[in-house]
């Protein structure tokens, strides 16, 4: 293949680095108004009265709207619509919008907010999901606080725990975190002469947005046009509606273009977060280190509104027992409403939480068994035809094994793990840790997961029409590569059409690591259709032979295509030729409500990571030195972009592991900005060495599967394991802050144990533990080509950039 598999430079790169790319903030339309929303003063309250008359009188104010001005359904939500566009009688969290203003300037709009009088009747607040489960807890919604309860029942856990050689039980907690994309929410709306409403916005799916906008504004969908602006990061956070409906409403009321841009504080306050989770895990193994039983109770705080919380928590249930063979599984996962900022989709959709817990369990079990952590995982990994916890039987090849093997080879695990002297300076200790993980590609769980593409051959170029959003992950380049490959043309001949509901067909959202897989297949199929149509054109003899063309006999679709491409500009009377296709992936099903049986997904992405740290035993500071990450992507369509996804995922995992936490007190955010919600800076990011593995997927384009999310799920448990290796304490609660390390060390000291005592397994590793040739031969497992990349030669620039 000429183009697929090559690290082609991003097609959108030049415009972005030269400032030509237009983000929603960059649009200025004539007569444009600026919008601001008034957010709730309470975490939970009844609204008695709203008086906007003084705000309306302010000079420069063009509209002040409240719930009664919403013409359609005053509710929206990514999967379940229970969030008011503008609250009428009740507020459920601090980010709730109560009124919205459009004014001639941002300053006037801001000022107008202070003239809106809202009388509230405060209600008791529930901000801990465990409290919210109690029968006498304040009710966030009429129907009660449990949004969903997913169950998985397989085998007999009670019996298996009784028979187990060893059982480990622990409680884990993961924090609420923010996506922290570079570009805050922003959009612009205007009404066309035809009466159609146009919304230009940064989003993850123009079609899902259109559906929700039309529904709340009481318009037929065809009267709403959603156009994508450049999208500066998303990570799941732009699956939900933010400014879209509000600006649409104001544009319809005022007849003027309206722009709304959130401040960082508003973005953190009012948009979806990653679900904080409380998780009780219990796992049992036999004497040989084979997993017998796995039990988990997961309570996830979904905040004030449903968003995609039900699906996130379903994912937690499905992946709670990790990529391992276990015959006895019992999972209970609850999504619980509270008065906190609502939680929704965020990179890896429920998997970072449960992977932290399950991989901690794996490392604790290995330590208790005196078995090497890598070998223990290898022994239990799903290989070949495997039965999932949901009873689903699927061939997962040896993907997990190749990732484990590669990361162990790359990191020189065998030697480093058993290094006798771990001192790294005064009070400083070296540690190394490993974790694996897997996640679904595509929505799965019975959701419609198709993607449609159109490829249009025109004079001089091939135009690719598909609504796949490039939020920075690089799907635009991937799809252009696939079109160029399929049509045997150069990248320069392919033009990507900006997603627009009136122009480009529905590709579904850029989430669930699905676009390369689903839209990649759709583009491939559309190219096949184009070739077929070209050939038909030739066969019908309607093709007008260009003058001077040598022979007729060698004419085929490729010749015609080249003829088209060599033409300059529009040629009179020349119609374009179009190829269209919709790719529908293999079917999945929702989980059975009682047993959890079902088909969770049609493709899975596996990975394994090793982290190296140095821990200061006195201050508790964890210095992350290096992460090795091996990920099986089936086929790297653009290896450089895969490397980018791995590095980005690891850095996000590093933040989750060591510092990030949105702290909420009685529903109020105590970390409202990026000065208090710490994410890793360029001086914190560690060295990352990645390995791209390619065990082909059965259905993905060229064997490719998704990679966007899997790269972030194993980092935190690998780091926590490394901390344990360094100083001998398990930190069961993320983030692993310096203070928690010190506290754990003190508790351990108090218990009179030498903190170094437990770090080394009793059994040292034998060479044979690393060679499981029989396994490979038995399964006739595909050879996995390997690519590795390293930044070891890079100069780490620690000074200033403006010398």
């Amino acid at each position: 293949m000429k183009i697929v598999g090559k690290s082609i430079r991003r097609v959108d790169g030049l415009a972005k680095v030269t400032g030509q790319a237009r983000y929603p903030q960059d649009f200025y339309l004539e007569g444009m108004l600026y919008a601001k929303a008034l957010r709730s003063r309470y975490s939970h309250a009844l609204i008695k009265k709203i008086n906007v008359s003084r705000a309306r009188e302010l000079e420069g104010v063009r509209a002040v709207l409240t719930a009664q001005d919403v013409p359609g359904r005053n509710l929206f939500g990514h999967m379940i619509a229970d969030q008011p566009v503008l609250c009428q009688d009740k507020v459920r969290f601090r980010g709730d919008a109560v009124a919205v203003v459009a004014a001639e300037s941002e300053e006037i709009a801001q000022e107008a907010l202070s003239f809106i009088q809202v009388d509230y009747d405060p209600l008791p607040v529930v901000s801990d999901p465990r409290q919210a489960l109690k029968p006498d807890a304040p009710r966030v919604h009429e129907k009660g606080n449990i949004l969903t309860h997913y169950k998985i029942r397989k085998g007999d856990v009670e019996k298996a725990f009784q028979e187990a050689h060893l059982v480990i039980e622990s409680n884990y907690r993961t924090p609420c975190v923010e996506h922290a994309y570079l570009q805050p929410e922003s959009g612009i709306a205007y009404v066309e002469d035809t009466g159609d409403l146009v919304i230009i916005v940064a989003t993850q799916c123009v079609y899902i947005d259109r559906h929700q906008i039309a529904r709340s504004l009481g318009l037929p969908e065809e009267k709403v046009k959603v156009v994508l602006a450049e999208t500066g990061g998303a990570f799941g956070g732009r699956e939900d509606i933010s400014v879209q409906i509000l600006i649409g409403l104001l544009a319809l009321k005022t007849g003027r273009p309206v722009k709304m841009t959130y401040s960082r504080e508003e973005s953190i306050l009012s948009t979806a977060k990653r679900h904080p989770a409380y998780m009780r895990y219990k796992s049992g193994v036999d004497r040989e280190g084979r997993l017998l039983a796995w039990e988990a109770e997961i309570i996830a705080d979904t905040g004030a509104y449903a968003s995609s919380g039900a699906a996130v928590v379903q994912n937690m249930a499905m992946y709670a027992s990790g990529p391992y063979k276990v015959d006895n599984v019992k999972i209970d996962a609850y999504a619980v409403y509270t008065n906190n900022t609502f939680a929704g989709a965020m990179r890896a959709f429920g998997c970072p939480q449960v992977t932290f817990a399950s991989e901690m369990q794996m490392n604790k079990l290995a330590a208790a068994l005196g078995m090497d952590e890598y070998e223990f995982r290898r022994r239990n990994a799903m290989v070949g035809k495997s039965e999932f916890a949901t009873g689903y039987l699927a061939d997962v090849d040896n993907c997990q094994i190749v990732c484990l093997d590669e990361v162990v080879r790359l990191s020189n695990w065998k030697e480093k793990r058993y290094r006798q002297n771990k001192e790294a300076g005064k009070d400083r200790f070296y540690g190394i840790g490993i974790a694996a993980g897997f996640k679904n590609v595509g929505y799965g769980s019975g959701y419609v997961d198709s993607s449609s593409a159109e490829v249009e051959l025109m004079p001089g170029k091939v135009r690719l029409k598909i609504s796949a959003v490039d939020q920075g992950q690089g799907v635009e380049t991937i799809l252009c590569q696939i079109a160029a490959e399929e049509l045997a043309i150069s990248m320069e001949n392919v033009e990507y059409t900006n997603p627009d509901t009136s122009v480009t067909p529905n590709a579904g959202s850029s989430s669930a690591s699905r676009q390369t897989f689903n839209s990649g297949n759709a583009v491939r199929l559309a190219c096949l259709d184009l070739k077929k149509n070209l050939q038909q054109l030739l066969d019908s003899r309607k093709w007008k032979r260009p003058p001077g063309y040598p022979g007729h006999t060698s004419y085929n679709w490729s010749n015609i295509l080249q003829e088209f491409l060599s033409m300059e500009g529009e040629t009179e009377g020349m119609a374009s030729v179009i190829g269209r296709a919709t790719y529908v992936p293999p079917p999945t099903t929702p989980l059975d409500p009682e047993t959890g049986e079902g088909i969770p997904a049609y493709s899975f992405g596996f990975g394994a990571q090793v982290a190296e740290v140095v821990v200061d035993k006195r201050t508790g500071q964890v210095d992350l030195k290096k992460v090795y990450a091996a990920h099986d992507v089936g086929r790297a369509i653009n290896p450089l972009q895969v490397e980018g996804q791995i590095e980005g995922g690891v850095v996000m995992g590093q933040g989750y592991a060591l510092m990030e936490e949105i702290i909420l007190k009685e529903g109020e955010t105590l970390t409202p900005d990026l000065a208090t919600f710490d994410i890793p800076t360029s001086l914190d990011v560690c060295d990352i060495e990645s390995a791209i593995l390619e065990v082909p997927d059965r259905h993905g384009p060229y064997g490719a599967r998704g990679v966007g999310e899997m790269t972030t799920i194993s980092t935190a448990p690998a780091i926590a394991a490394a901390v344990h290796d360094a100083v001998g304490v398990w930190i069961d609660e993320l983030p692993v802050t310096a203070e928690k390390v010190v506290r754990a060390l003190k508790e351990k000291e108090f218990q009179g144990k030498d903190v170094r005592e437990e770090t080394l397994p009793e059994k040292t590793l034998q060479e044979k533990d690393f060679q499981d040739q029989a396994l490979r031969e038995d399964k006739g497992i595909a050879h996995a080509p390997r690519r590795t990349t390293s930044h070891e030669n890079w100069v780490i620039f620690k000074g200033d950039l403006n010398v």
Partner: protein, 284 residues
């Protein structure tokens, strides 16, 4: 809305201040002021920009004293070869602040006038026994930095006054200069605790010991009592323990999102121990 002035001389500035308009604010780097203003926490009726006042940009060494204009940016401090040579720990503290963008704007005078308990420059300037020159139209006074801070965001500064200069005597040649900052990350971090120390060990006896801490009291704090205990003593495990106990009495940390009282107390002990061990040249 506010009036905006950009005086071209110190006397113009002092004249503007003399008018005593309530909510007059001085804009140096603006890295604190503008953030507060944007959040609605600060009223400004008159904003006076200091950027063009050459009188506030001095950086010199005279008669064994270093004199720094209050409007010098952190960046200038970082790049000064004089300061790098004479007071490397002050340079280190300046480098630990924010990001390059913040350091290009923020000023040393601003760092002190903001009076944050976490002000990174305060601990090294406290142990250097820095003097501040405070000027108003009719008078001028010099006060030690250690009596300048009144509480969180509160100082001795009169509304009609401006800090024009920060000066300190050169520390002895073979004196250890130590600055430690503990934050959640390596840049853009507000310290959980910080410590600066000066001192040396002569034939094993500690002399000229000066210690100051940040983020563990309502203001940056010089640990006079702890210093008194250490002066002229030989560093032993028992003395270290006692010094830590004394330091614990002097500090009064709070719990916030960055750390608890217990952790801050613990860390001050560790940083103190490390600083003293370094000065004494022995690992205890």
């Amino acid at each position: 809305m506010f009036e905006f002035y950009q005086p071209s001389s110190l006397s113009e500035l002092l004249h503007l201040l003399e008018e005593g308009i309530p909510d007059t604010c001085l804009l140096a780097g603006g890295t604190d002021l503008l953030v507060e203003y944007r959040s609605g926490a600060r009223n400004i009726s008159r904003l006076i920009r200091l950027a063009h006042l050459s009188e506030l940009q001095d950086l010199k060494c005279e008669d064994g004293r270093i004199k720094l204009g209050a409007a010098l940016t952190y960046r200038t401090v970082e790049r000064s070869s004089l300061l790098r040579e004479k007071v490397p720990f002050l340079v280190q503290a300046a480098q630990s602040i924010g990001s390059p963008q913040v350091r290009n704007l923020g000023t040393i005078g601003g760092n002190l006038v903001t009076a944050s308990p976490a002000a990174d420059l305060a601990p090294p300037l406290l142990v250097l026994e820095a003097q501040l020159t405070l000027k108003k139209k009719s008078s001028s006074r010099e006060i030690p930095l250690s009596s300048f801070f009144m509480g969180p965001k509160r100082t001795l500064l009169d509304p009609q006054e401006v800090v024009t200069e920060i000066s300190f005597a050169l520390p002895p040649e073979n004196c250890y200069q130590i600055f430690y900052k503990l934050g959640q990350r390596n840049a853009m971090a507000i310290s959980i605790a910080s410590l600066a120390a000066l001192g040396q060990a002569q034939r094993g006896f500690l002399t000229g010991i000066k210690i100051a801490v940040g983020s563990v009291a309502p203001t940056p704090l010089r640990l006079f009592h702890t210093e008194g205990l250490l002066q002229g003593e030989r560093l032993t495990q028992a003395l270290l323990k006692e010094a830590n106990r004394r330091a614990q009495e002097e500090i009064s940390p709070i719990s916030d999102i960055r750390g608890s009282v217990e952790y801050r107390r613990e860390i001050v002990g560790v940083l103190l121990e490390r600083a003293l061990s370094e000065i004494a040249g022995e690992v205890l």
